[in-house]
């Protein structure tokens, strides 16, 4: 491959002596400073290899004499983050909910923290943004609350849960009117007709609704109120609105009277008081807070 350098006759320039398939390479010399910069780069890399972690070995890698470690850097920056957060966490711990809400800076922090905690713990049932799910997972973004939508109500619900293992847990039990033979199926159908009129719809079957109203006033009004407004102290849902936890058709309402389903939410006290406060503010801010 390498011949003697010769003069290229066309350009008058010397060749490098390299030849591939008859093609010769002209020698266009690089400047020496370029070569020295290259040597300097090699020198730099040697110094770098000595100072910093560089070469993998069978069991690990060379550590470098500066002891640089990205894990240490990460821990340091995490500690820095925690320290930056601590001042807010301390203030949240010391303030009550209304004060946090009225302090713009603190509220911003709490909402961000609440969003994270919500995504970790609440989203599986209540959905992103508190959208709720069919089948008894209530929306947290609407203006209808089973156990109350004030800051204190939400805080309490989070703390003790619903039908959970907390001693003060929120609990209520609607009797299974059909299963226990407290009402016959005709009466249940009548009540369902009446309940639909509470929400403002014209009665499908006015006679049945009128019969249902009588039974409703005896059996249901104690908890759900005569006008169907419900009672958040008892966790009795409002029946005079357009929001139905287990569906709003006649059939679905009748089924719920026959054998009610009861949702369960764990008590979230284990998350810590700060997280519960931040969650409370976040849920309150989803659009339905009272």
């Amino acid at each position: 491959m390498a011949d003697q350098p010769e003069i290229d006759r066309l350009t008058g320039q010397k060749t490098t002596g390299h030849q591939w398939d008859g093609i010769k390479e002209l020698n266009t010399p690089l400047p020496k400073w370029w070569l020295y910069v290259f040597y300097a780069s090699i020198l730099f890399s040697l110094v770098y290899v000595v100072l910093y972690p560089a070469i993998p070995t069978l069991t690990g890698y060379t550590r470098g004499i500066l002891g640089y470690d990205q894990r240490v850097q990460l821990e340091a920056s995490l500690a820095e983050q925690a320290a930056a957060r601590a001042q807010y966490i301390d203030r949240i711990a010391a303030s009550d909910l209304a004060d946090i809400q009225s302090d713009a800076e603190l509220a911003t922090f709490a909402l961000a923290g609440g969003q994270t905690a919500f995504a970790d713990n609440c989203v599986p049932c209540h959905g992103l943004g508190g959208a709720g799910q069919d089948g008894g997972y209530p929306s947290l973004a609407d203006d209808d609350w089973l156990w109350g939508g004030t800051l204190d109500d939400i805080h309490q619900t989070l703390q003790v849960g619903i039908r959970a293992d907390h001693p003060q847990t929120r609990t209520s039990m609607m009797p299974a009117y059909g299963v226990l033979n407290m009402l016959d199926e005709g009466q249940i159908a009548d009540i369902a007709h009446h309940v639909l009129t509470l929400a403002g719809d014209a009665a499908e079957d006015a006679e049945a609704a009128a019969r249902g109203a009588e039974v409703y006033n005896i059996q249901c009004a104690a908890c759900h109120a005569a006008d169907g407004a419900g009672n958040t102290l008892l966790g009795a849902p409002a029946l005079n609105d357009r929001i139905w936890l287990y569906g709003g058709t006649h059939e679905e309402i009748a089924a719920q009277i026959y054998e009610p389903r009861h949702g369960v939410m764990p008590a979230w006290g284990r998350l810590g008081d700060d997280a519960i406060k931040m969650l409370t503010l976040y849920v309150h801010n989803l659009g339905g807070g009272e």
Partner: protein, 541 residues
């Protein structure tokens, strides 16, 4: 890339002597030429009598081009270039361009522009901490950064057009590398003298005098470099404030770092590296060849007129020889140290100083000027064949330049139209995706939106937000309004972006299906200007 040195000039140029067409592979053409390394010696051997006879007309020193001096090793030591002082029209133009460039650069940050009490008063300010660019009456916010793209496109197209018309004028006149190198060379010439004095000084052993000259030169270079680095930073901060802070040690660390960096690079590139930047580092010479064509102006040596070259004694006949007296003044003045008589080379930055040098010599030997001149390759070929050169209008107006010019006008028009019609108010609405919609107790459907209003006025403005053509809408902004029929009033401070969560509820019959389109409209309560944003309102199936 080095296309000029191999065949171009032989193609276009002299039918006589050494230079015949090479394209068909004729080898005799070049083999008869002197070997580069000993070209000077050959010349002297060929004209022993003329060598001294010329001294009264032109300086006798031999200047060897880069190519002639090149050794045949794989790496070469730098061949130091000692450009000679030159006077003439082109040198004057180059000084004027240099002065204008430096003036723009140094004065730029000190220009003031009144924008009211809440905005900076610097005419040219790239405010990175606040992410706003101020260019006189233009303000560019981050979301409008595409305006800078338009400026860059226009700048690139102008460069293409200039290159297509006049060759490498950017390299020769306006490139910062050229401007500062020229400035540094001027300092060097003032202190160390012209070419011959500098060559002597380089060879002389170190002495008190040499040390003093060198110290003075590098000292002044450092001062200029510092001023250059300092001026650069002023485009990014308020200039008068920064100068005060800089000298009292209160400027941010980044300022000191960048001033140091740009001082060092200016000193290195303009003082020490010089033509090495153009020849070895810069990519521009490589792809500029692609932008040149047969009609672009290049610095060109008229082979047909100059050859055969040779020394000339006063009174000798000019018959049977070329006008080039081989005085090598064109090489002596060249800032990159090439011989333009070798043809177009990528090292040529197109500054045309060799034209001034040659014209001076031609005046002295009483031959017409323009042996070296700005001309197109097509013209040179035509003249060499004895035909009339292309008319200048035809050279300038051709498809390539028309396309460039049309593009420039189109982009500029679009840019200026967009800039002059843009509003100082901008509305963006981002709809919630979770939940898509919420059914409220009364059956109405509520959607959540994040409404962002950008107020580019330098004062607080109040904006009225409403939904276009939707009468039944009720607006809730947590903490501000509760189920108001609208329009709702939102305040935005000077030069700020405000973001609000806005819940809009509509009766189910107004939603009518799973989605309908709605348009948010925001109206400035001060001047009545408005902006709209179309989005979707979702409901149940």
């Amino acid at each position: 890339m080095d296309r000029g040195t191999t065949g171009r000039n032989q193609e276009t140029g002299a039918p006589e002597g050494d230079f015949v067409t090479v394209r068909d592979g004729t080898e005799a053409a070049v083999s008869a030429r002197p070997r580069p390394a000993d070209a000077g010696a050959l010349r002297r051997a060929a004209h022993p009598a003329l060598d001294t006879a010329m001294t009264d007309v032109v300086p006798a020193e031999e200047a060897l081009s880069r190519k002639e001096q090149k050794r045949e090793a794989l790496y070469v030591s730098r061949i130091k270039v000692h450009p000679k002082d030159v006077r003439g029209t082109i040198r004057t133009i180059k000084w004027l361009v240099l002065a204008a460039c430096l003036a723009v650069y140094y004065i730029g940050p000190w220009l003031r522009w009144d924008r009211g009490p809440d905005a900076p008063s610097q005419a040219l300010l790239l405010d990175f901490p606040n992410r706003k660019f101020y260019l006189f009456w233009i303000e560019i916010w981050p979301q409008e950064i595409y305006y800078l793209t338009a400026l860059l496109i226009v700048a690139a197209l102008l460069l293409f057009l200039a290159t297509s018309l006049a060759g490498r004028v950017w390299c020769g006149y306006a490139c910062p590398q050229t401007v500062w190198t020229d400035l540094f060379m001027w300092v060097e010439r003032r202190i160390e003298g012209d070419r011959n004095a500098r060559i002597r000084l380089d060879k002389a052993p170190m002495s008190a005098g040499k040390f003093a000259k060198r110290s003075a030169k590098h000292g002044i270079w450092m001062v200029i470099a510092l001023l250059t680095g300092g001026a650069w930073i002023m485009y990014f901060y308020d200039a008068p404030t920064l100068v005060g802070e800089f000298f009292t040690g209160q400027a941010p660390t980044a300022v000191y770092f960048f001033v140091g960096l740009f001082t060092a690079t200016t000193y290195l590139l303009a003082g020490l590296a010089r033509e090495q930047v153009c020849v070895y580092m810069c990519p521009w010479p490589r792809f500029q060849a692609a932008l040149l064509d047969d009609d672009s102006l290049i610095v060109t040596y008229e082979h047909h007129r100059g050859e055969p070259r040779g020394k000339h004694k006063r009174g000798d006949s000019w018959d049977g020889r070329g006008d080039c007296i081989d005085c090598t003044q064109c090489v002596a003045v060249c800032p990159t140290g090439i011989d333009i008589r070798d043809g177009l080379q990528f090292e040529c930055i197109g500054c045309g100083l060799c034209i001034d040098a040659c014209d001076t010599v031609m005046d002295k030997v009483e031959r017409p000027r323009g042996l070296i001149k700005f001309d197109s390759e097509r013209n040179q070929a035509l003249i060499a064949r004895g035909e009339a050169p292309t008319r200048w209008t035809k050279r300038i107006v051709r498809p390539r330049t028309i396309v460039y010019a049309v593009l420039i006008v189109a982009v500029l028009t679009a840019f200026l139209t967009s800039l002059s019609t843009r509003s100082a108010l901008d509305l963006t609405v981002l709809r919630d995706r979770n939940p898509l919609y919420v059914t409220l107790s009364d059956g109405s459907i509520r959607n959540g939106f994040t409404v962002r209003i950008i107020n580019q006025h330098h004062e607080t403005r109040v904006f009225a937000l409403t939904l276009d053509q939707v009468a039944q809408a009720a607006f809730t902004v947590p903490g501000l309004v509760e189920r108001s029929p609208g329009p709702i009033l939102l305040e935005a401070g000077p030069d700020t972006v405000v973001s609000h969560r806005v819940f809009v509820s509509l009766p189910p019959e107004a939603v009518d299906g799973s989605a309908r389109s709605v348009t948010f409209v925001v109206t400035d309560q001060t001047d009545g200007s408005s902006d709209a944003y179309a989005t979707t309102f979702r409901g149940p199936e």
